[in-house]
């Protein structure tokens, strides 16, 4: 009797004790795989490539909407080739512009965020200012300031839009 009661008492005690799972730290491969995305160069290059893709599509789209310069002596097929060349040239220019924009923005944001060790909107503002400044640096200091402010405001709006969307 006593032994049976002893057995009954010990069994629920073992069930009550919670199963402690061992601590699973990430392996070196997992850490390296996650660290690739933390690298500023990789991030900015990927952003540049994505920007160039976006620029390509936008250039094609806007080039298609553009009014064709019709010259009367060209046949239909020649007009088509001419329009296609215009579209291609425009899309390549647009792709370059967007690639530079994406690269500079991503690199600036990455560097600033790593230095500050905080995830804030001031990172976006600084990165936007740098990007706008480099894009419109040819027009002189006033144009650079205006580009900086405009692009910073634009990027903050886009970031807020994406945050609310998520």
């Amino acid at each position: 009797m006593a032994s049976a009661e002893g057995k009954n008492q010990s069994a629920p005690k073992q069930e009550e004790k919670p199963k402690i799972e061992p601590l699973r730290l990430p392996t070196m491969e997992e850490i390296r795989g996650q660290d690739i995305w933390n690298n500023c160069a990789v991030r900015s290059v990927v952003s540049g490539v994505m920007g160039s893709g976006l620029g390509l599509f936008m250039g094609l789209f806007l080039g298609a909407l553009d009014n064709p310069i019709m010259q009367e002596e060209m046949t239909g097929r020649q007009q088509f080739i001419y329009t296609a060349k215009q579209m291609g040239r425009r899309s390549i220019n647009s792709a370059k512009a967007f690639a530079v924009m994406g690269l500079v923005f991503s690199a600036a944001e990455c560097i600033v965020e790593k230095a500050r060790a905080k995830h804030d909107t001031t990172n976006i503002v600084v990165a936007g200012c740098v990007t706008g400044g480099t894009i419109s640096a040819r027009g002189g200091p006033k144009a650079a300031c205006a580009g900086c402010a405009g692009f910073a405001a634009f990027s903050v709006l886009i970031e807020k839009f994406f945050d609310r969307h998520d």
């Binding site: 965020e113 790593k114 500050r116 060790a117 905080k118 995830h119 990172n123």
Partner: protein, 70 residues
């Protein structure tokens, strides 16, 4: 003259010291994770992964804590 180099008493002492060391290390690790988490990660979670700012903050926090405690 003892036949074995460590008697039972010394073995128990060594075992007790190892246990204390283990407890100390575990306590250090727990305090480290709690401190650096409270310092570096914002309370309102916007995404599930650690972003880059939090990563570099955690790197710096852990390095400082380790240097300060060892």
């Amino acid at each position: 003259m003892a036949a074995k180099p460590t008697s039972t008493m010394e073995k128990e002492q060594i075992f007790g010291m190892a246990e204390k060391e283990m407890e100390y290390r575990v306590e250090l690790f727990n305090k480290l994770t709690h401190t650096c988490f409270n310092k570096c990660v914002e309370k309102r979670y916007k995404e599930s992964e650690l972003n880059m700012g939090e990563n570099s903050c955690i790197d710096r926090c852990v390095s400082k804590y380790w240097q300060a405690s060892d």
